[in-house]
């Protein structure tokens, strides 16, 4: 998504060196604190993370109660266990009920405020529990992609020559294949036609290698020529230590911005993946998968299609808002 933009900003990133006084963590934090939109983004992120943690604890506590039961048995034990994530909750409510403010809905904000899904489960509850998957994949995929991409890009930029050529051609080839297509093919084929959200996370991470690698490489190319790197080399520090201790840390600020934005991209890709049926599998609640089901009822129950999209939009909006603010805060040219 934002790769082109990153690129254009990176190309003239060399000006950073003239404004040494305007960088540093304390300075950055101060600027984020005074940026209203970034603070708003941070608030959304905090809310989403809090929801994830609370629902995750809840899920695991209920699984602890049933200790030895695996997911399948939990689903079988559904009637005993009134839990929204693991079982179809049969028959507690009317199916596909519209939200409370629409005629024919529950009429009460306390019952099923956003209505019910195709199996009569409360839509709001499933929406809240759906946060888990998006955040889990968003964080893990970005972290893995950032880690691998950083190493590839740093090695490529630092050593140059044929290493650079080979790695960059590989990275460009990877970038050329549309991320969603790569993730679907990876998830379906590598899982042996048994797609799962873990495969999806790894797949997304692979598609992130190019963006991170190219960004860090462009930074390394300029950091490599710095006097302190020259000095370290002259005193006999090993290449690996120079990379890990000097080059990568000094190239990291823009990577952090990109990572914040890529979390949003992950959530988008996974939503698309689940929408096509290759992400999280039912009965696990996931926004994309909920859209996949509700798409079938688009004509008769349009409300079911509205909510998961709104949830995705707000979550990604939070990460993008914060990433945007972080970018401004780290950019010394903007006062």
């Amino acid at each position: 998504m934002a790769i082109g933009e990153q690129q254009t900003r990176e190309e003239d990133g060399g000006a950073d060196d003239e404004f040494e006084a305007n960088v540093g963590w304390r300075y950055t934090l101060g600027r984020i604190k005074s940026d209203t939109t970034a603070r708003f983004g941070l608030a959304v992120i905090a809310l989403v993370l809090a929801v994830t943690v609370i629902t995750a604890i809840d899920t695991h506590l209920s699984r602890l109660t049933f200790g030895a039961l695996d997911d399948y048995m939990l689903a079988q034990a559904a009637p005993m266990l009134d839990h929204p994530t693991r079982h179809p909750d049969p028959g507690t409510s009317e199916r596909r009920m519209p939200p409370f403010f629409v005629d024919g809905g529950s009429g009460s904000i306390t019952d099923n405020p956003l209505g019910t899904d195709e199996a009569g489960r409360d839509y709001l509850t499933r929406l809240i529990y759906g946060t888990q998957i998006s955040v889990f994949v968003g964080l893990t995929a970005t972290a893995i992609g950032m880690g691998v991409g950083t190493v590839v890009g740093a090695v490529s930029g630092y050593y140059g020559g044929w290493v650079d050529d080979v790695l960059m051609r590989f990275v460009e080839s990877l970038y050329a294949i549309p991320a969603l297509v790569l993730v679907i093919v990876f998830t379906v084929l590598v899982s042996g036609n048994n797609p799962d959200i873990t495969y999806a996370a790894v797949g997304v991470a692979i598609t992130f290698i190019p963006v991170f690698a190219r960004l860090i490489r462009s930074r390394v190319l300029s950091v490599r020529e710095m006097d302190y790197v020259e000095a370290a080399r002259a005193t006999g520090v090993k290449d690996r230590d120079i990379l890990m201790r000097h080059v990568i840390p000094n190239s990291f600020a823009p990577v952090l911005v990109l990572a914040t934005l890529q979390i949003g991209v992950t959530i988008l890709i996974v939503a698309g993946l689940s929408f096509l049926g290759y992400g999280a599998q039912p009965p696990t609640p996931d926004w994309g998968q909920m859209l996949n089901v509700s798409h079938q009822y688009m004509l008769s129950n349009p409300w079911m299609s509205v909510w998961p999209g709104v949830a995705i939009m707000i979550t990604i909006f939070g990460f993008n808002l914060f990433g945007d603010g972080l970018q401004d805060a780290l950019d010394p040219r903007i006062k």
Binding site: G4, Q7, A176, I177, F275, G288, M298, L299, G309, I312
Partner: protein, 350 residues
Amino acid sequence: MSLLRYTVYRLLQAIPVMFGIAVVTFLMVNLAPGDPVDYMISEELASEELIASIEARYGLDEPLWRQFLNYLGFSWFLGLLGVPGFADAPPGLLQGDLGLSMYYDRPVSELMLTRIPPTLMLVLSAYAFALTLAIPLGVVAANRRNKPTDHISRIIALFGVSTPSFWIGIMLIVIFGVWLGILPTGRMVYPWRDPAFYGYGNHLELWYQTLRHLFLPVVALGTLQMAVIMRVERSSMIESLQSEYVQLARAYGVSERTILRKHAFRPSQLPVITLIGLNLTTSLGGAVLIETVFAINGMGRLIVQSIQTLDYQLILGTTIVLGFVFVIGVIITDLAYAYIDPRVTYGEEA
């Protein structure tokens, strides 16, 4: 270097990337744990002879490195050169042959041929939509920097990059197709067909209907691009407005309107051109979803179908071709860049 030589140079540069795409895709598809033949036949029917005959038909009985050479079409060349063992090697990618689809039992290239135009039509129209909105909005936002207009456009752009395109598509169908009932939401009309095929009187009506059918999918797919291009247009426009040549023009008393039109505008389009090329891969990925939502029979739907049916050859072919489309798109935008920017000296690595 002339533009022609630059073109050739860029094409040569693309060869290793295209090779890389083929390698990455081939390895991913072939090293995956599943066996395509297992997916094709049920367990009761699986006899040694049947498996062997299927493997022979699709060239799966050979070692992997040999399959790879066959697929790329190197074997065919080796056979041509008379290298022993390659005498009757089949044509491959280099000869425009992508093998036989396991599900349809027809050549992959033949299946793809009718699917590429709809996807190109969708993606190019989405870019046309994105550019017509994004460039004026970006210019206005840059011109009124830090004023309400700028903030509003920033918020719109952020929502644009935060919303899944397929969900926008679903919402558009609900609003315009179901609720208001003023626009068609499926059964795409293609302008290259005979008007009589759809029951239209003439080509004018066919084109009109095509535009009507295209509108919703194009808005759904183009919104993300619009948002991204608008932000880049804004920042690059701000940069040009602060540049020395614009300040010089200002010092000479050139009016702001003229500066905006004649001096600042053209150089600000260069980052946008680069961005269009790089984002082509996002659009092609988005097309997979939009084609599914709006039932358009393009490449994206073919890929989804090939995965549903676990048609290995078709998965391979469609993925590689989408990668190639992107590489060619980047070359075209690079050439456009070189053509527009008089400062570019061809051949030097940008």
